[in-house]
Amino acid sequence: MKLFKSNKSAGLMASPYIAWALIFIVIPLCMVIYYGITSADGNLTIENIATIFKPGFFKALKRSVFLALISTFVCFILSYPLGMILSSMKLKKNAYIVTLFILPMWMNFLLRTLTWMTLLEKKGVINTIFEFMHLPTISIINTQGAIVLGMVYNFLPFMILPIYNSLNRIDENVINAARDLGADSLQTFWRITLPLSMPGILSGITMVFIPALTTFAISSMLGGSKILLIGNVIEQEFTQLYDWHLGSGLSIVLMIFIFINMIIENLADKGGVNK
């Protein structure tokens, strides 16, 4: 290209960011890995990572994966029909109605979570209404159910947006072509619509699963102090127990999960689904 007099001047222009990325992205990650695989006296060890298999830690991890999976699944089940309805409305780009469904995303994340504290508390809004109607009160606050509810509420827009976009991008004539070739509406859905929206589904799953798996704020606000997720455990290691080595080791475990998720996504994406 002729925008630059030489490769050198382009390199010069990119150098501030290259330096930035090295200092603030690469080196910090290396530090996490370094702390994760060393002990306090500086010797190499896998003990920090292996701690994840100790009962309390493993339980927190299992719980995190379980709740994140449920939340992701619920988000998907809610979002897919919504995406189909919205895309069938043939809206213009940037339509108000679509924005309406992702608007809460712009509200502060903690305030969104806080709303559910207020609603679910023993003497909270929902129970007050139930009492008023002489219905039995519920106690969801400080349960795993409340955490899932908080995750779904917070991350739902992250699922809606990519699914809606991918469904909206499908050429109407592709659907017509399937019908034209003899497929009924159910066959058309399974063989055409669903596979073609797979990129959106996958990115929605990632965008919900990763933050749900690694959150500590939602669980500490809606799950009380008893239900710990892996995020809470890591947070405590850094802010209360000051065991950076163990905290980093557990972070490496999280990164392994993220990496696996990426690989699965890439494989599924290559498995016959193109953009």
Binding site: L3, F24, Y96, T128, F238
Partner: protein
């Protein structure tokens, strides 16, 4: 029939999303401190909120960090995207790979890694560290939205400008920059909202005694929710709605469509 069911479904999801927010707004006018009782209409939580110095300074910090990190991230991100054109494919793909890390990685890991770095370098935590962290996670959002524009630059127009006697820099500002401005604008908006909304990375890089809105709310919540927070939620929600409305009306959104 199908239409009606569809509409009902949309309504249910919307209620699920907005009913909690509206409950908060209602509670912000409730003079009773209890959430279970309606004690009459009041604005006292709003007046208390506005006279609360902790909230005021947290709000100032949040906005200052959001604005500054957006400016820095936009400048660095845009320059880097343009520079990418002149880099070899290999360097480009490595750099893009690194840039993707903060987006793919969990916020908690990004936060921890930066905290480790700042501790190691003995940089005192506070405004500066949060700003550095926010710039770091904002640059990828800017690049993500500027990069597609840069890829679609029509170099013939640039060459035509040179051919007609323009200097390189004049040709750049007149032909290339206008093409990528919509990408820069949407990238900056994205960076700004990401910075405003961030809690986790701020939490790990802030140090003690320094609060942004997010961390302030988190601390408050642990001590028990004060109705002032409801007033704050209501204000933020209204501001978000207003900004959104303006962005629909403003000519800027037109530029984005082009």
């Amino acid at each position: 029939m199908k239409k009606i069911l569809e509409r009902i479904y949309l309504a249910i999801i919307l209620i699920f999303m907005y009913a909690p927010i509206f409950t908060l707004i209602v509670l912000s006018f409730n003079s009773s401190k209890s959430r279970a009782k309606w004690g009459g209409f009041t604005l006292k939580w709003y007046t208390q909120l506005l006279s609360d110095e902790a909230v005021a300074s947290a709000l100032f910090n949040t906005l200052a960090i959001a604005i500054l990190s957006t400016i820095f991230a936009t400048i660095i991100g845009t320059f880097t995207c343009i520079a990418m054109i002149g880099l070899s494919a290999k360097v480009r793909s490595i750099l893009m790979g690194i840039t993707n890390i903060p987006m793919i990685n969990a916020d908690i890991v990004t936060g921890i890694s930066l905290m480790l770095l700042f501790r190691f370098l003995h940089i005192g935590s506070g405004f500066g560290t949060i700003l550095l962290a926010h710039i770091t996670f904002n640059i990828p959002f800017v690049m993500l939205s500027v990069m597609p524009r840069v890829k679609n630059i029509n170099f013939y127009v640039y060459e035509a400008a040179l051919d007609l006697g323009a200097s390189r820099s004049y040709a750049f500002f007149k032909t290339i920059l206008p093409d990528i401005v919509p990408g820069i604008v949407s990238g900056a908006l994205m960076a700004f909202t990401m910075s405003l909304d961030d809690f986790i990375i701020t939490y790990f890089t802030k140090g003690s005694g320094f609060e942004t809105l997010s961390t302030l709310i988190y601390n408050e919540v642990k001590r028990g929710i004060q109705p002032e927070i409801y007033a704050l939620s209501a204000i933020i929600f209204i501001v978000v709605l207003a900004l959104l409305f303006i962005s629909y009306r403003a000519p800027m959104s037109k530029a984005k469509d082009n």
